[in-house]
Symmetry: C3
Subunit: 663 residues, 3 copies
């Protein structure tokens, strides 16, 4: 393990796959990486079939040699636990490891992530192999940390709808509810005679004639999330014991929503994530923005979508653990995989604009990353990802991203805190419930949440994204865009924060549902009614060709997708609906420091948030399209995400570029 | 059973679910319902798991008490046979009850309608449970009638493609055809060597490499329809014996087309249906009308789509049976479930416009309904339909629909006959065959049929929708928009009606196919050729970007989707095609009182029908968009379905409103 | 067998199904066909269940009689091997014959092509039945030739994903690779730990969590193609022995791409194909051209799409075999099925324009067809294709196509060679690999290939489409639009042709991949780098809303879908990119006679090809939209595919018409 003093600025790395190239390349690549200024290398991510070519027969020699090659050049190594790709000999011997999809079809071998988290036999092999790896390399001086598995949940792999998961679900329910009557009550199974008389009768929610019971879906999501957490915990315990002083992390995936990331992040030293801005745009462009936004940001990605993930994953692990080199600080998150050229998995995979790799790296730093690791060192010449770029091309010549990394000055990126005075609340259970019953097809939990986030970013605000039950007293303003599931304890916590001086903003559908997935017998927003000073009156689901006018201090705006109105019970109306079924009813309300926004309208959200921030004494800087500010460690990163030069605030920003300003 | 004299006007009711709320609410709700002016309550629709929590262990106490609560307030009760939702204990004991979908996947427990109509074991439980209910409540004084099951066929549940249905189909065929050679001939199985040598070789039509044999599909539709009819008949026989004097009905679903409703309606006292105008619009907006129509009627539904269902279901049962309170008259149909706020099952679920609940209720009356029963009393706080509204909100406060019901004067709606002089012919076998081979993807049986219906309604015409084999002599004009299957007997019946003075109008593809699903060896329209005085010459399937000009007395119009031409054999051409492949050929023909329309064009259909009606002495009133007239019991309901005030014919109609005029 | 001298011009035929009509029609139909000027009739295509109603019980009498009916009128008969539709008694006795789809579902009986080519039991029945047919009719004087099966691969039936194919694949791999390590290396299985330790572990590529390994897919395509070839070879061997002097062919399907047609065509005397121009347009309209092109050619089909198939299938069999009447010449290909009215299998099935049937026939001749056989004689009155037209209507009256055939002068179409000096290279392995990893969703192998073909046709060029490994020395210009898989031997062959004076043009992605489906370790275009004088620098996948400017001699054009750039290593840049990520990089390069086009742009392709052709001394004739020239046997067919009259080059062409000019 390296004992070099931790540098005070952003460090770089890359993902490398020595098993994909001839052995004679290893030392060469390590030297080239060092020369490029990289400090870290992540390896062995999918190497199970090479480490254990047959059951119980380990082949360590090649990995020993590869690690030595990196070590010899002073690179610090991150190892993986190998479990994302169980090999053929294991799958064919134990086909019950394979997961099933929502239609009950077995998900076949021949790709990756083809396992059921609940499989006891897979769990056993996961522990066995993790132990073997940890024993072999846990104390190797080059090894500074571990990545568990790879991208949990990616490709919809959290939930299996057959086999091991189907078998384990009833027992999980029995543990949760004790007696089946409590399950029936929690799920409201009386509704369509869905009452069970024994836990063993319950199956995964799938293939029903019409809608699934949302409470059934919600509990299945909880169950599956627990399996991921348990699966990783078993690896964590082994690694903690056998590889002291090394950090342990996981590389989470863009907007992945299959499991509760807060639950799975427990025990990690910090979170990392895999940042692919261009593929992300194709899949997660803000709903309703359509082709125009996808085109404008086709070669850079959308700044707020990327920043959201940075802020989200930075907030997963609140307590500092082991730092980026194992023992020591700082403990900031990483980007474990950073796109550095075109990807291969979207319908269209354009080249990044010149400057985008530097811009992404700078943004990652400004949102808290202490390490950015590029995916991948050399483009793969084989199999699924031959069309995916790397820092080197197939022929080992430096690709466009390489040149950008080469000319990037890392010392302008000192590590340090992100000075956020605004928190945005997030909760996976709310996400599951919201998306199970959208009621308005053009909205989703992410759409609504990102709309609030983007409004804040457009005002130049730094944001912490934290769990809905996190401590809030450090913030001036707390925004709850779509926390639809609010148990009484959560409502009490928020009320206390408000009493303590925090300004709270709630979006539509806040506290719509009970923890069981039902609605409050006393109406919405249930236990939050007093704090908000309102009761839900109407909710209107607007098809894309409909809108609803909202009138208020700054004139009229149009709501799209969703509009809900309130009966005032202590709050006053800031905005009201005019025309349509909601004519004259309250659209935005305020009781003291608590503001409730019932209409979905980016324009309205921006106006209300600007007002709230001003009242809370948080300075705002309205920004033009494509310009963004991010602050860290006493510096401000001014970013131009457009393909044109921009004059802003006396600054000249080239196309796709940034400036670092000292405060 | 109540012996109160039948009131002479529309009565109201609601659907309530006492098992969904605490017992202490029952008496309160009953009292509130009575105060609101409701007369009926439908209960126990999905209550199997509460009536029989375990196999053979009945719990009657709660339902006894609930019925007493309603009875105590003078409400009349409609009970259900419970079979729409077999509970978990039954399904897990007899998984063979579950149906299979078109891909052969078992349709799982956890929702509703998860049974195969052909399952012998389910049939047995259906009879057993119906008998138990009938014995318990069949003579209860509060109980005035029964609803069998719920919404047969909804969610594509008529046809099961495995298990019990797959097992029963060969025997059904043997019964129909006697020897397999007759089956082969009827289906034209020689076509692709599809000939069977034994009935046992025949399976449900599914998962073939390419197109299915339409005759195979047609017979499977007939088979499945028969299962529904048989299933219900078993319940009917028990209820007739054990619950004398009570009406028996079924609540049919919007445009449901899985089974032959005329067949299934046999033995019922009258039909009811479930009227959800806004969800209906999203799913059944007139083809080609696109977003513009969906937007215009987003908050009211489309008047003609709703009216079509009213007229369709009113016509299902021709002979009067027991009336709405059991013994006695009138015997008109009901709306068993009437939307009274937003629904939850469309992609978008907007709020109804102010006034829509009253307008829907008035329209229901004018199209023959004697009772309108709102769905549901209180919004569900649990499970699949928590986002669906009721007359009361989740928190028991009155919702928007409640207020409209409260202020509605029912006495302006006397019961009595709908004075239709025009009949529109309908036939489920034609529908099955048409839709199996559309040939032009933008048309369907419903699209074509509703186009003719809507043209009539735009002319202010009251319409009876009747079976293609119904007696026609009472009508001045009979329209057969899409009766593609015309056996010789049917042709003879129509010819006789024409001889008797009825004016007949046929749309394209009329009599295209034989009862077996083949085409006539002698060409189309087969046995109807003489009556129409034409032979089919060409049929042209027009992609949406193509049209075909039609020229006639009133100038030129454009046909879309479909254009067929005729060789004249006794008829004359009223309109001809000009340009394109059909240039100069007959598009609309007339022989005596028989008119044939070959081109699909709402404009053309309207013009030709107006001419036919005028000649037949049926007065027409051309109406502007969104204005409709409906007559009943000597009164005329003038309706404004637009969101704007309308001046029409000297009347001022507010947005979404109606007037009742005495004739 | 007829011994009449082969006429020197195009002959006509039709597809007839005597088993579909009463016996008394056979002689009548034969006489009518003769009177219409038809020479051939193809029969018994789907007649297995009539020839062998039960296992081993043959019924020859009816077919004997039908053949005599045609023979008696001087018609020459083409017989089929019956295997496209195994009957029910065989399938129910041996359900393992049924294929499985990509989701693992058994493809059910009840349609056609429901068999797995790898099924040993089906192979046995195929041989048995072919032998029985050959013994019975192999030397019949009326029989001039055989069609094997029908439309191999149609409806995605080449590849089965279960049963017999799944069982045979491992053995095929063992045969190909010998030891499993070589398989792992060839597929790059180390990539995601997909390495096998035994061939028996390998399954068809299906249902994986995310992307399939393209090498796995490529080998499965090769395996499945081999099954088709083997299946047919067994029939060929029997027919060759038992039916001497008769030709053997297969009727290939439009753009079918499931198997390697060059492999399957081996041993055939010539290829035939089934030409349905209107259905073809709906399914294969040039990508990106959208509704506008589909509308313009809705009633004629697109001339280049049709011509492409003519040229493709003409080139399948290079060596002359037995001619169109068995023994003798000429040996040109046929159109075995020619649309002569509307089809029934597209979403929309418009009527052909007046003149289209003649135009299609003339075009077929000009592109090398010696016989055009219309599908079908009489429209079917039963089963799947009742909406499909024939020369006769359902009622036996002559339909529109009949009239066009009646007035067509066949003597203006002498047989003889197509004088192509330009070859377009084609390769199914490249197609499989390209389409498995499109990287840009709007492009495909066919799209890119047809773009080059269409550019040539717009310049009035006659084209041979030949296999990528065919002899090239006879051509002035060779175009390789999308040969993405270029082994070293192929590269050497092309280099040698270039040395010999051939001008070579390569499109984007040429030689991108190794024969195993990987990329070259040394970069693209691998072994072709020297010949092209370039190395691949960047490739850009452009979403439909993006374009990339290309600048060159003729000004600027916009690339869509794809843009790749090159590092010059001996070549010079003809066009360069301007703006965007590729700014200043080479877009089109030339080294000597070799031109490489990196940008996808029909306009650019046309300009570059025009230049190359001019330099190579091949005369070009730029043609307006919808006008085409095709040359054969010393004559030129001038075609107008538009619905309007056209003045061109001093000629007056009526709408949808042609002229034959002597050179
Ligand atoms: Zn990754
Ligand atoms: Zn209902
Ligand atoms: Zn065919």
């Amino acid at each position: 393990m390296t004992t070099a003093p931790t540098p005070p600025h952003l460090l770089l790395g890359s993902c490398d796959y020595p098993e994909h190239v001839p052995r004679d390349r290893w030392a060469t690549y390590a030297r080239m990486q060092k020369e490029l200024g990289l400090s870290f290398v992540r390896i062995a991510e999918f190497a199970w079939s090479r480490i254990e070519p047959q059951c119980g027969r380990y082949d360590w020699a090649w990995l020993d040699q590869a690690i030595e090659a990196y070590h010899g050049c002073g690179l610090r190594v991150v190892l993986c636990t190998l479990t994302a790709t169980p090999p053929a000999w294991l799958i064919r011997a134990h086909p019950e490891i394979l997961a099933s999809d929502e239609q009950g079809r077995v998900r076949e071998f021949g790709s990756r992530r083809h396992y059921d988290f609940a499989s006891p036999v897979y769990r056993e092999h996961s522990r066995r192999l993790t132990l073997a790896m940890a024993l072999r390399y846990g104390r190797h001086p080059a090894v500074v940390g571990w990545q568990t598995d790879n991208e949990f949940g990616c490709h919809g792999t959290t939930r299996s709808y057959g086999g091991a998961s189907a078998a384990a679900f009833p027992e999980w329910l029995r543990h949760r509810y004790g007696v089946v009557e409590r399950l029936n009550e929690a799920w409201g199974n009386v509704f369509w005679s869905m009452e069970y008389t024994d836990f063993s009768q319950v199956r995964p929610p799938m293939l029903t004639v019409t809608e699934l019971n949302p409470s059934h879906v919600l509990d299945y999501a909880r169950f599956a999330s627990q399996q991921v957490a348990d699966f990783q915990k078993e690896q964590l315990e082994i690694l903690r014991e056998m590889s002291p002083g090394r950090f342990i992390t996981h590389n989470f995936m863009i907007f992945e929503s299959g499991f509760d990331h807060y639950q799975v992040a427990q025990g990690l030293d910090f979170a990392t994530w895999d940042n692919y801005p261009l593929g992300m745009l194709e899949f997660f462009a803000p709903s309703g923005s359509g082709e125009e936004v996808k085109t404008r940001y086709a070669r850079t990605g959308h700044p707020d979508l990327i920043a959201f993930n940075h802020d989200l994953y930075r907030g997963l692990v609140a307590q500092p653990g082991l730092g980026r080199e194992g023992r020591g600080t700082p403990n900031g998150p990483w980007v474990m995989e950073q796109q550095c050229g075109q990807v291969n998995w979207a319908p269209y995979n354009p080249l990044p604009a010149g400057g985008a790799v530097q811009l992404w790296t700078a943004q990652a730093w400004a949102h808290g990353a202490d390490v950015v690791s590029y995916f991948r060192w050399r483009a793969a010449t084989m199999a699924q990802e031959v069309m995916h770029s790397g820092l080197l091309r197939h022929d080992e010549t430096p690709d466009r991203g390489y040149a950008e990394v080469e000319t990037l000055d890392q010392t302008q990126f000192p590590v340090g805190p992100v000075p956020a005075r605004v928190a945005l609340l997030h909760d996976y259970e709310s996400l599951w419930l919201y998306d199970q019953q959208k009621h308005s097809a053009s909205l989703s939990y992410w759409t609504q949440t990102v709309a609030y986030y983007s409004a804040l970013r457009s005002l130049g605000i730094d944001v912490d994204i934290v769990h809905a039950d996190a401590g809030l007293s450090a913030y001036a303003v707390v925004v709850a865009p779509a926390i639809t599931l609010v148990p009484p304890e959560r409502a009490a916590r928020w009320a206390k924060a408000v009493e303590g001086g925090v300004a709270l903003v709630c979006g539509p559908r806040t506290a719509f549902r009970t923890p069981g997935g039902q609605t409050w017998e006393t109406g919405q927003p249930g236990p939050l009614s007093d704090t908000l000073g309102v009761k839900l009156l109407q909710y209107d689901s607007l098809r894309p060709t409909l809108s609803q006018r909202v009138s208020g201090p700054g004139g009229d705006v149009q709501a799209h997708g969703w509009a809900e109105s309130y009966r005032l019970q202590g709050a006053e109306a800031l905005y009201s609906y005019s025309g349509g079924p909601l004519d004259g009813e309250a659209a935005v309300t305020r009781r003291g420091q608590v503001t409730t926004i019932g209409a979905h309208s980016p324009e309205l959200i921006g106006a209300v948030l600007a007002d709230v921030l001003q009242r809370a004494g948080v300075e705002t800087t309205p920004l033009p399209e494509g310009v963004r500010l991010s602050r860290r460690a006493g510096r401000t990163l001014v970013q131009n995400w457009t393909l044109d030069a921009v004059q802003w605030n006396g600054l000249s920003l080239g196309p796709v570029s940034f400036m670092v300003q000292e405060e």
